[in-house]
Amino acid sequence: MSSEVVSGVSVEVKLYKDVPQDSLFVLGLPDVGLVGAIAVMQLIRNLNMEEIGYIDSDVFPPIALIRKGEPKRPVRIFYSQTGNVLALASEVALPVSALPVFSRSIVDLAKKLRVKSLVLLGGVPVPNRLDIEKPKVYGIGVLSSDREYLEKMGVELIEEGFVAGAYALIMKECVKEGISCLALLAESYLQYPDPGAAASVLEVFSKITGISVDIEQLKSEAEELRLKLRELMQRTMSALREQQKSYEYTLPLMYV
């Protein structure tokens, strides 16, 4: 795959190798408590996933990631044959102006690769997180079959509310395209990296997909991650303010 134009903006989606259809496409973007970003980092590390591509665009921040001396794109795609899983990890908080293009590219890619489902990992901020020992994980399913599956697996669905940011756009695109999409959101801190919430999300992810992910490693490295990810958390907070994330505390108007 190569460059394409989405909503008048140039986007480059590059895959170095073919991916079998029916894979799970897991996303963990820097968001509330960096829950999704930490969870996907652990998934990639634990499954020893191979880097197979990237997404880049002129509207993304002008940033290159240096990893082991090599410049890389900050939004990369990984693959593991174990469980037939694709994962997208972003090491930057994308500005709100980049989200429509980014989200459209994700759903286009999911469609082209004929993925089985998109799985969005993230957090939902709760003010009493300090008093919660084990964060609860809530689910959102785009298709009715997604919702039925989540309920069957014992995941409580979010019945009402708003979702803001990239996941909101991805879900709306999935509704339009009829693509299966499940979101798993753990109770988390808003402004602090929350490896505990990421562990909860991965536990539920393992349960619903049958793909085993070691969360003990994540728990043992929790303090290190909280220290290491402070700057990314701060940058993410700036992006979240733009994304009107506070909408997620708002009650909807309609009863239908």
Binding site: L130, Q191, Y192, A222, E223, E224, R226, L227, K228, R230
Partner: protein, 148 residues
């Protein structure tokens, strides 16, 4: 009474405008700021969350690697909170040039409060590496004046 009331309204308005301008400047500074550490003083700046309830200002500091409450010193005035928390020489595993080979021995942070508080009634708790301070807002006293 009536002029006092108007004075209060103006004061509240001015305080809100001042706070909003200050928050705007802080957000701008945040965008341009450097790392949340100072290798020259071997100090880290903690992530900090501030919010208000009707009666309190709540501040939370994220303090990973702070082992116990005895390592923490907090001083509170009517409009500022200052934190110092001791660390036992923590280093961050990374190849990043800012952090490589540096050990950090403390968190330091000074926070300006969004409104005046009663420092003596501050409550603090430390759990799972998060310090939470609850600062009761200063209550203005009103006196009924009998008109003669």
């Amino acid at each position: 009474m009536s002029s006092e009331y108007i004075g209060d309204v103006i004061e509240r308005f001015m305080r809100r405008v001042t706070r909003e301008i200050r928050e705007m400047i802080e957000r701008f500074e945040e965008e341009l700021r450097g790392p949340l550490c100072d290798p020259s003083t071997q100090c880290l700046e903690p992530l900090t969350e501030i919010f208000e309830t009707p009666d309190e200002v709540v501040i939370r500091f994220d303090l990973p690697y702070v082992r116990d409450k005895d390592s923490i010193q907090v001083s509170v005035s009517e409009d500022t909170v200052t934190l110092y928390a001791r660390l036992e020489g923590v280093s961050i595993r990374t190849g990043h040039i800012v952090y490589r080979g540096v050990k950090f021995f403390a968190y330091r942070k000074s926070v300006r409060l969004p409104c005046e508080v009663d420092p003596e009634r501050t409550r603090a708790r430390f759990k799972d590496g998060v310090l939470e301070l609850r600062l009761p807002k200063k209550v203005k006293k009103y006196y009924s004046i009998r008109v003669e």
